[in-house]
Structures are given as C-alpha cells and as structure tokens.
C-alpha cells in the first residue's frame, strides 16, 4: 500500500510538473512569426491515434490481493479539438460489504468524445479536456459468504457465516449501462508519450438486477448505491501517440 501511494505521488508530481514546464519553455513570439508570414499557411488537423494503459489499475493489481484489473485506453483525433475516446477494461475484485463477502468479475467498454479546452502553443500538444462516455459492462457476482441480519441475537451461533447453499453462489450474465462525464488532462512527457489523469462522474442508466442480490459493484462503474444513481471513478493513463496521417482542413 505504501509503495502504491509513493507511485501515485510520483506520477501526479510528474504530470503537474510537466504541465508547468511545457508552458514556461515556450519560445516567445512563435505566434507572431506566423502572423508576419505573408503567405497564408494552410492549417492541418493532425489525425492521430493515441493508445495506452491505465496505470492506477495496473499498480493496484500489483499491490492488492483482492483486485486485478486492466484498462486499455485510446483516442483518435478527428478535429483540432475533438477526440473520439474509448476505454476497454476488465476487473475482478473481492469485497467485504458489511455482511456480505462477494467477488465481482467482468469487462466493460466506454465510448465517447473528449473536447480539448486547452489553447496549445504552436507545436505543443497538451490536453485539458471535458467529455462524456456511454459505457456498458457485462459481469457476474459470486457470493462467497454472508452473515444474517439479526439485531437481537438469541441463539449463540447466530453470526456464523453462511458459506454454502442458501443465497451463496454465482449470479451470472449481468449487465449495466451508464453515462459518464469526464474531466481530465493529458500532458506530453516525451515526444509522443503522454501522461493523463481523468475524473469521472457516472450516472447509471440501467442494470440487470441479479436474483436475490444487487449489483453492489459494477466493473468500470464502481460502487452502486441504493438511493443514488451516481458513481465516480478515475484513471491515470500512460499513452503513446502515433501520428499516422494528416487531414487538410
């Protein structure tokens, strides 16, 4: 856990540091030179594909026994400020939720659009983006054990966990759909290598309710609550950019 925190600390330190760094070292007057040029320069929208991995889920897998997960991220630049974004993930986690111990495993995808709100200097390519995703998961739960709710226990062995039979066992073939609002940034670390952080506010649209249980945890969505359809999440991405084509405006 300490190692994990150290990593998270370093990653955030780097990303913030680089964001400042890239701004400061901008050669002044770059824009003026463009303006002074008598010939109108045709602006090109670089069509580029960026793909990578979520570092947080990767590190968490390394340091936690109850979690294993992987998220692949990618985005395609379609306009100067517009990106088509996708996330594909797989998660397996064991949770002790008050009285119930269960394992959820499944995969998810998220598709949407990021809009870059950051005005880059010429030649720079940093992102401060706002966007949305439509997401869907297919998952299953395995109830490992639970204890029955009894506030006025009478029998001495009332809190013995139920490990087999009754409500334990698998709840398969479940799915959930939700909507995400995404805010985040991507900072160019090295040529074509980016480090990003994004925060997500999730709104559950629909989910298939498992028999005699609930989707307490949904891969990609995280915790589902009873009275509130909202959830939250984030990722820490390391991505590589392939500028594979240019499109003339």
């Amino acid at each position: 856990m300490r190692k994990l925190r150290t990593w998270v600390y370093y990653i955030s330190f780097w990303s913030i540091g680089f964001l400042g760094f890239t701004q400061k070292t901008q050669p002044a007057g770059t824009q003026k030179e463009v303006l002074l040029d008598s010939l109108p320069v045709k602006e090109k929208t670089p069509l580029s594909l960026r793909f990578g991995i979520d570092l947080f889920r990767l590190t968490r897998t390394q340091f936690s026994n109850d979690y294993s997960g992987l998220e692949l991220v990618g985005d395609l630049r379609v306009r100067e400020k517009l990106f088509l974004a996708i996330e594909l993930g797989n998660e397996k986690t064991t949770k002790q939720s008050e009285q119930i111990n269960f394992t959820t495993s499944g995969s998810y995808y998220k598709i949407g659009i990021d809009y870059n709100m950051y005005d880059n200097w010429e030649g720079m390519n940093n992102n401060v983006h706002l966007g949305f995703r439509i997401a869907s998961s297919s998952h299953n739960h395995l109830i490992n054990n639970y204890t029955l709710l009894d506030r006025t226990p009478f029998w001495p062995n009332f809190d013995t966990p139920i490990n087999a039979g009754f409500a334990t066992g698998e709840r398969a073939n479940l799915n959930a759909q939700w909507f995400e609002i995404v805010a985040g940034f991507k900072v160019q670390l090295l040529n074509n290598i980016y480090l990003g952080l994004s925060l997500r506010l999730n709104r559950l649209l629909s989910d298939s309710i498992p028999y005699n249980f609930d989707n307490i945890f949904i891969p990609g969505f995280n915790q589902k609550t009873d009275e509130n359809k909202f959830g939250g999440g984030f990722n820490y991405t390391l991505t590589y950019n392939i500028p594979f084509a240019s499109k003339k405006n």
Partner: protein
C-alpha cells in the same frame, strides 16, 4: 474563456463527487431483520379463543438465554438460523406440584432474502410437514397445533397456534 468554463466544470465535478456520500453504508434501524415465529395459545375446544395457561413458561433448548415474555397474548419465538429445527420446552404450572413440561420441536426450512448492501440478508422461514413434533409423548397438556401462516417473513401476524 474556455479555461474558466473548464475550472467551473472541474469544480462541480469534484463537488458532486464529494456530495455523493451515501447513507446506505449504515443499515437503518427501520429495516426488518430476521423475523421471529409468532405463537398463539388457543383453546383446544374453540380455536378462536385465545387464553393464557396458568404458570406458563417457555424455555429454549440449547441456550441459557431467557426468552422475552409475550407481547399480549402472542409469543415471539426466535428460530435458530443455523439449524433446521428448534426445540422449546412448554411448561405448565411452573414451580408447582403438577408441573407439566411438553418438549416441542419446530421444523422449518430457511430462505435468505437480500435486503440491501448495508443490511445484507435476513432469514425467512417456511414451516415443514409436520410443523411441530412432540418429543416427550405421554401426559401431554398440549393437544395439537394449527398453522395460521406457513411462511414466516414478518412479525405482523401469528404463524402458529398451540391448542391445549
């Protein structure tokens, strides 16, 4: 311009993430827990007449705990969730010369019902055939029983009537 918008959006996102704290991590007291079996003591001549036997007491077998005594004429009996049977001693004229103890076994199946994330599961019971077995026959003061409701999911109505 766009930076201000972005800052505003980021702030609202943070704020909403913070405000998302939910109450359902705590199991509320109002949520019904595992129900007790509700028992009525009835006249063997007329099942509609409720009456209290003299010097009457019930003891649970397998625990030193003392049962809470009745609310009015109905008696709540906690069923053992770890077993399929629970045994009770029904005592008539307790402490007197003609004390009479009938040992009854209640037979049931358990079904666990999901409540929510914070509360987990509660047990429901279904009375089996026969619902009651008399373990010490001979000189019985209990004449029989009637099943009023064979699924025990709440404590709103009586489930079992004992005739004597």
């Amino acid at each position: 311009m766009s930076k201000t918008v972005f800052k505003y959006c980021l702030f609202s996102l943070f704020a909403s993430l913070l405000l998302c704290c939910e109450k359902d991590d705590i199991c509320i007291q109002d949520v019904a827990e595992t129900p007790d079996l509700i028992l009525l003591m009835l006249d063997s001549n007329d099942e509609n007449i409720r009456k209290s036997p003299p010097g009457f007491n019930i003891r649970a077998i397998g625990t030193e705990n003392v049962l809470l005594q009745s609310r009015g004429d109905s008696i709540p009996l906690p069923l053992n969730t770890q077993e399929k049977v629970t045994q009770f001693e029904f005592i008539l004229n307790q402490g007197s010369e003609n004390e009479n103890i009938d040992t009854l076994q209640i037979n049931y199946d358990r079904i666990d019902q999901f409540i929510n994330r914070a509360c987990g599961y509660r047990a429901n019971f279904i009375l089996q055939q026969p619902a009651i077995t008399l373990l010490n026959p001979g000189n019985d003061w209990i004449k029989g029983f009637v099943i009023l409701k064979d699924t025990i999911t709440d404590e709103k109505a009586a489930h079992l009537g004992i005739l004597y």
